[in-house]
């Protein structure tokens, strides 16, 4: 089994498509919607965690691509300038998902994109403005 987080960006005409139902029913892909920014008539974004066997995952991804849905790994949607980070910890204060954390003994900031829920709180919380997230309308810069 493979489990991975993806950001799905879909054009306005696909917003009405029951994609999560189809992924489960037709391709046996378990889909967990973690965050969504969908408005009728506009482009939509979904953060999903998909779990399936490798062949089913491949088929599911093919299905999404046929619908012109852009599917990208969450890493590509989040930019974090790690080199400029001073490891202060301000972002960890707001990261309730636990994707940003610091631990003993070195207290260095670690970012685990597989735990990120794209809440975007870190974008504002980082005093050096090192996070950039491209998700939904907000597309913080």
């Amino acid at each position: 089994m493979k489990r991975k987080r993806f950001v799905l960006t879909f054009p306005p005409e696909v917003v009405g498509e029951p994609i999560t139902y189809n992924l489960a029913k037709q391709h046996d892909v378990k889909v967990n919607i973690i965050n969504a920014d969908v408005s009728p008539g506009e482009e939509g974004s979904l953060l999903v965690e998909m779990e399936a066997t490798y062949p089913n995952m491949k088929k599911g991804v093919e299905y999404l691509k046929e619908l012109n849905i852009e599917i990208e790994s969450i890493n590509k949607k989040i930019q974090f300038k790690k080199d400029e980070c001073i490891d202060c910890g301000a972002c960890t204060a707001v990261c309730f998902a636990g994707a940003l954390f610091m631990k003993k003994p070195d207290w260095k900031l670690t970012f685990d994109p597989d735990l990120c829920v794209v809440c975007e709180l870190c974008v504002k919380a980082c005093p050096l403005g090192l996070f950039k997230i491209d998700f939904g309308d907000s597309a913080y810069v």
Binding site: G89, A93, F96, K103, L128
Partner: protein, 386 residues
């Protein structure tokens, strides 16, 4: 016999490369296995450090005179206002002053850019006088073009600082970072057992004239910091339980490194400045040895609710508990997060240790100690017609 050392004796050892120097974390570790008198016997100097946001910071710059000269009365640097009330080409640029055009760029950013060697846009106006006829100037300056440029921070290195939570139903954006509603998180800002004024809580060795590490340069303590308070309640180890003493510090901007300072912006609060500061503490006797052996379990701070103006408190907590990443408040598990960088503080304590070991840094005995028994006045609105 109890150990007694003088600054001169320690400096002599530093000169000969024979001084035993440990960081405050190393000495705390040592103290777990050794007695206070052993620590006093073996260790000469302990290096302490902090790297946290310190808003009350800034720099004096003298631009040099143009020809014809100008008496600068209104001054901006990269569109950030500098103080124009000094003669005639001096200014003070405060860290928290923000750009006319960009609230996320401020005095701290100007100073950081200056230290990086970048060109800074200077625009100034004066009314024009017989001795200073020029009325406006627009030019670029950098650290090579100006005369003196020195950091002068009226309030740095807080001896302890309160921790912040928010019990209201709304998110609060503060200088203590983003505070999530309903006690969703807690932020604190300290390097704990590595912090300068927590290792010499009575400031027996730190005073006016103490040589320090300031943002990569050798600087000095110039005065007690503003809001200097020595009468806050203390724990049994003599450590104040919240914000207490502070330092005013000075150092040459041109010698500083952007590695040890960083401009910051806190959402809906404004600009602040991460300052890297390190202080060596000479182990003059057993009392100092006891103070520098302090560990995070012996240091407490008070938790304040930043959701309300009155800032009610939720009691005290040790830094050891805060560093676990989670504490309990009102039977609720609350995630804790630091705002100051422990990695950077450790790096500074190590650099200072290296400087001392190589004889590149000597201890200065304070020329004057700070006042004792100080407390703070609050600002009263007198209600008089103005």
């Amino acid at each position: 016999m109890a150990v007694k050392r003088t600054f001169e004796e320690i400096n002599d050892k530093i000169k000969k490369g024979k001084a035993v120097i440990l960081t405050a974390e190393e000495v705390t570790k040592m103290a777990k296995e050794s007695s206070v008198s052993d620590v006093a016997k073996k260790v000469d100097v302990v290096t302490t450090a902090t790297f946290g946001p310190m808003c009350s910071s800034g720099a004096f710059i003298n631009f040099g005179h143009s020809n014809p000269p100008i008496r600068m009365e209104k001054i901006t640097l990269n569109d950030v206002a500098g103080y124009g009330g000094l003669a005639a080409v001096d200014t003070y640029i405060g860290a928290t002053e923000t750009s006319i055009y960009n609230e996320k760029y401020g005095g701290a950013h100007v100073i950081e850019d200056f230290i990086k060697g970048k060109k800074i846009k200077l625009v100034a106006q004066g009314k024009g006088t017989d001795c200073y006829p020029k009325k406006e100037i627009q030019t670029y300056i950098d650290k090579k073009s100006v005369n003196e440029a020195y950091m002068y921070n009226p309030r740095n290195a807080y001896q302890n600082y309160a921790a912040a939570v928010n019990s209201t139903n709304n998110i609060k954006y503060t200088y203590m970072g983003t505070l999530l509603p309903r006690l969703g998180n807690l932020t604190y800002s300290t390097s704990g057992e590595l912090s300068p004024l927590l290792n010499d809580p009575e400031m027996r060795t730190i005073g006016i004239g103490t040589r320090i590490f300031l943002c990569g340069a050798q600087g000095f303590v110039s005065w007690n910091g503003t809001q200097f308070n020595t009468t806050k309640p203390k724990n049994k180890y003599g450590i104040p339980l919240s914000n207490a003493a502070t330092l005013a510090v000075i150092g040459d901007l041109k010698q500083m490194s952007d590695k040890y300072l960083k401009a910051a912006y806190y959402e809906k609060y404004g600009v602040s400045f991460f300052i890297g500061l390190g202080i060596p503490i000479p182990v003059l006797d057993e009392e100092i040895a006891k103070f520098v052996s302090i560990s995070n379990k012996d240091i407490q701070t008070t938790i304040f609710d930043y959701g309300y103006n009155e800032r009610p408190n939720f009691g005290t907590v040790t830094y050891e508990a805060l560093l676990t990443g989670q504490i309990e408040i009102d039977n609720k598990k609350v995630r804790t997060a630091s705002l100051s960088s422990l990695i950077k503080a450790r790096e500074i304590a190590d650099v200072l240790k290296k400087w001392l070991s190589k004889g590149q840094f000597y201890l200065n005995q304070p020329v004057q100690h700070f006042p004792s028994k100080t407390s703070l006045h609050s600002l009263k609105e007198t209600g008089e017609d103005l």
